[in-house]
Amino acid sequence: MAERSFKEEVKKLRLGQGEEFRGEGILAVTKALLQAGVAYVGGYQGAPISHLMDVLADAQDILDELGVHFEACASEAAAGAMLAASVNYPLRGAVTWKSTVGTNVASDALANVASGGVMGGALIIIGEDYGEGSSIMQERSHAFAMKSQIWLLDPRPNLPSIVHMVEKGFELSEASNTPVMLELRIRACHLYGRFEAKDNRRPSPSVKDAMENPVRDVTRIVLPPSSYVHEQEKIDQRWPAAVQFIKDHKLNEFMGGVVGDIGVIVQGGLYNSLMRTLELQGLADAFGNTEAPIYVLNVAYPLVNEEIVGFCADKKAVLLVEEGQPDFIEQAINAILRKADVQTKVVGKDVLPMAGEYTADILAHGVRAFFNDHAPHLTSASKALAHSPADAGALPAKLPPRVPGFCTGCPERPIFAAMKLAEKELGRFHVSSDIGCHLFSINAPFNIGNTTMGYGLGWAGASAFNVEAKKRAVAVMGDGGFWHNGLTSGVGNAVFNKSDNVLVIVDNNYSAATGGQDILSSRAENPARSTRHAITEAVKGVGVKWVKRVRSYDVATLRDTLREAMTTVEKGPKIIVAEGECQLNRQRRVKPLTNRAIKQGVRVVRERFYVDSDTCTGDHACVRLSGCPSLTIRDNPDPLKVDPIAYVDNSCVGCGHCGEVAHAAVLCPSFARVELIYNPTWIDRALARLRQSVISWLQRRAARSMA
């Protein structure tokens, strides 16, 4: 089950005509899909679109009522291929993932579906993970739209606009027989707002109708000669149809003033940031009223030449606000204007940076530069609203960096503690990392891991290190990545190529980093999915002989198993499956149950850890093998000592890692596990009293002898 329950959010999907929806952007998209009569939805979870998947996973009853098929796909490639259902049938379908990484994975399927074209509306909802808070390489999904001729929507970031664009996206897709991408940046996905809901629509036809009445059109299949025809179709028919639709339905918006010899062209998604910038410089009001004409590209691809020429023709200069690189839109607008012999100056990446997110600060610089140069009459009359920020002086250097790390009690922490201990014995080895929470191993205190090549590609990333050598390379892969593609690209590849290397699979029962979704090897019973398919069985099935399962919290055994894998004379790929349930999910599951049990009077023993301030000497060797948020430091209570001592705060979940590490690394005798007994029985009480009385008698005796 996912990190949290979405039952409350699911209720919002039932809102009817005229009712007000309040909630998150990505949830608004989910509702908009149902309002648009979508027949099937698929995708692969990942920030910032995970909630679309999570909410639909919890909304099975609504989906059943409407006859909508929802699938948690094995990967983005699988999700992209799902759109094949819209090729032969007028079925509206939507798929979603994190981009650009997910689009990379899906691109094979996307290129194929875009080549043959679609009959039913095909919408690809991408969470553009770019800028602050992103966890991936910084690229633009725009390039995928261009290369495959898929249309790219980039709506203004407010819920009514986003919801409207979902509906128009399906229509545009159908009008031009082309799949359409709807791009939402991180902040837009998490944007809380309101819109007026409509009734949900049953898909007609439904997936069932299509299955029962199959049709086939060989010209839609990507194989010569059709593939050549497809390319011509894209240019001769689908593109013009799309442009016509965009114009007719006014998907792009002309806002702001109507006169003036300057203007601004902006990607829809950046509209609010632009308007706030103009407002702070005294060039607009809080409602977006401004003298400057603004052309909002809610459709980032394709551009509508006529609209661009029309907007620019009477202007000396336009400011183009286009985030990210390369500057596809700027190049295209320049080409369009020159071909139309319009000499308007396009000011874009010369006053705004080519690379990086357009924050409020950066936009302010660019906008100011443009208006000062090209519209001094506006800036001289305006009064800036922004106050001066405080001078931070030398502060930045004094602030400790705060990098993401393993949660309190995370079962992945002991894996890297064991690896660090193995490193102490065997010397350093090459570690190929993967995508997932386990990638936090690259940071302090573990500092383990050389590269990451993509989700599930951890072992493939070590495949070159498959030669005779004195050391073996180690790869890490999560269970999420394993099922995403690691079973074939990593394990199958290693078996086939007779690799002698070591793979550590982090089996935490979920696709944890994306929000704790179930996967094939999840232990939970999930009525809607088939789970409990063991990873060990899967790897044995493709021919791995050396497979060990270890409880991840057992640091000593894990270290010994690693040593064995690294040094055994046995040839062939070696796999260690380190098992331990994701603590974030475990706590969400267990905590309420425990609290309820305590309330109901059931005997419960709760564990947590404790550092003895009398014996801790403040060396922090334990921290260097942990980094747990609950294992922290505080002032030394002994005034003779200078260095802070270790301390376990009350967020400790009692995972046991501290104790295991203290043992395995022979650290110190300061760690203790505390067992608290709730609702003790009379036996508990009697025993406690007895023990306590004997112990205090002895203690009093000892105190006397000392005095």
Partner: protein, 472 residues
């Protein structure tokens, strides 16, 4: 011209910044404001720094004008009305990100620290400089509400979000009544009583006493204090005559000390070194009166609730030999045959129930061995090293006083158990071995201090090795 009110909440993943942001949205919506809210979560949810951004706008103005405001999705420098930071360094980060303006921004921050891994992992004291951040905060904001809200949350068994919410109410930065805030907490239906208590503490904090520095200075700097503590410690560690030996040793230095520092630092580190941690000491501390109560308080045991502590011990063969009478211990340590025979018994760590008799009694018995401590192998070793160190301080003080002080401070390197102790001792010895070359050089003291700081920087000794090269 009405403008939206911008609120940035900066928090750490898992601190409940999302809950606070949602409360502010609920508060605004229930009191005639439109609210928009967004966040940057992603990987930062896993213990990194996160930011939540809220804008609110009066609905009456929307109705009057018939127009919707364009609300921003990210804070703009010079345009954030309220910054709420759930931790001291994050408040500092908000200043460096230019969210705080001296003539606009109300800054509400908890003064407590959540240490980052980089601060925690240093073998010495790697903590960031609180004072620099506190000073910067005092200058940065139009209004500053700063106190330890984590403690307030802890005291009221609520969450820091509740205290921050109260501090927001108390700051008067939003046009809403106290009752309006409280209604939001009540309507949430979760831990209402505790959260209202936390909220009340937040209001008090915002309206009450001037902000305090979170860490009081722990050290009064007089020799007498240190000496007294040293005596108490050694009496507790061994006996009165051992404490007397300590005073005698410090006394000897009087002749060569020209200021407090040499006496104080020697007294400090001599006390710590003389009370080195051996198996007897650990067993003694673990079986003391009041210890279980202390654990109970820290683990928040309920009144009358039974609880037990299970200690993790891993004494190695070496430590066991160290505790034996010197001659026997030395023989066993040297003998490979005995090591092969006996070491396997100490290869595994043990978990000992110190509050149950099965665990308490063996430790209790072990602790009673302290009367024989002076005869142990470890005592002989430590005592010899202490004497050698004191002799160096004595000899060097008349020639190079600063160097003597630096040497007096050097045992800071010796701490911990097992490997950690060996590593510290090794670095200490290597610096001591350099002394013959350093005496007489102008910057000898600075070099010793640089070596000490480098030795405390990282476990692997990279900084130390580099510094050694420097000195050599």
């Amino acid at each position: 011209m009405t403008r939206p009110i911008s609120i940035a909440v900066v928090a750490l993943g898992g601190q409940g910044g999302g809950v606070l942001a949602q409360w502010i949205v609920d508060l605004a919506e229930a009191n005639g404001y439109l609210a928009q809210y967004t966040s940057i979560a992603g990987v930062a949810q896993r213990t990194g720094a996160t930011i939540y951004f809220i804008e609110i706008f009066p609905e009456a103005v929307v109705k009057a004008t018939g127009k919707m405001p364009v609300l921003a999705l990210m804070p703009a420098p010079g345009d954030v009305d309220i910054v709420i930071a759930s931790e001291l360094m994050e408040a500092g980060r908000a200043v460096t990100r230019r969210f705080v303006s001296p003539d606009l921004t109300t800054l509400i921050a908890s003064s407590h620290r959540v240490y980052s891994v980089s601060e925690k992992q240093a073998p010495g004291d790697g903590r960031a400089d609180d004072k620099a951040v506190l000073d910067a905060l005092r200058l940065a904001a139009k209004k500053l509400v700063l106190f330890d809200m984590d403690q307030a949350a802890e005291d009221t068994s609520s969450v820091i979000s509740a205290v921050l919410f109260g501090a927001l109410a108390g700051s008067g930065a939003l046009p809403f009544s106290r009752a309006a805030y409280e209604n939001v907490i009540t309507a949430s239906g979760k831990s209402v009583v505790n959260n209202l208590a936390g909220f009340a503490r937040g209001i008090e904090g915002a309206q009450g006493a001037p902000p305090q520095s979170p860490h009081a200075d722990a050290f009064p700097a007089s020799v007498h204090d240190t000496l007294e503590r040293g005596v108490a410690r050694l009496q507790d560690y061994q006996d009165a005559s051992y404490a007397a030996l300590y005073v005698e040793r410090v006394e000897k230095l009087r002749g060569v000390a020209t200021d407090d520092r040499l006496l104080r630092e020697t007294a400090r580190y001599l006390a710590l070194w003389m009370s080195y941690e051996d198996v007897i000491r650990v067993a003694d501390l673990k079986t003391r009166t009041g210890r279980l109560e202390k654990i109970g308080a820290e683990a928040r045991a309920l009144p009358g609730q039974p609880y037990y502590s299970i200690e993790y011990f891993h004494p190695r063969y070496e430590e066991v030999c160290d505790t034996l009478p010197a001659a026997l211990g030395a023989t066993l340590l040297k003998s490979n045959a005995m090591r092969r025979l006996l070491a396997p018994f100490f290869a595994k760590g043990r978990q000992i129930h110190t509050a149950k008799l099965s665990g308490f009694l063996p430790l209790y018995t072990l602790a009673r061995l302290r009367r024989y401590r002076r005869g142990t192998l470890r005592f002989k070793k430590e005592n010899a090293a202490i004497e050698a160190w004191l002799a160096q301080v004595m000899t060097i003080a008349p020639q190079d006083y600063e160097l003597a002080v630096a040497i007096a401070e050097l045992p800071r390197l010796i701490k911990g158990y097992g490997d950690t102790h060996e590593r510290g001792m090794d670095r200490f010895n290597r610096i001591m071995a350099l002394l013959p070359n350093l005496i007489g050089k102008a910057d000898a003291a600075a070099k010793v201090r640089a070596l000490r700081d480098a030795a405390l920087q990282d476990e692997e000794g990279r900084a130390f090795a580099a510094e050694l090269q420097n000195v050599a």
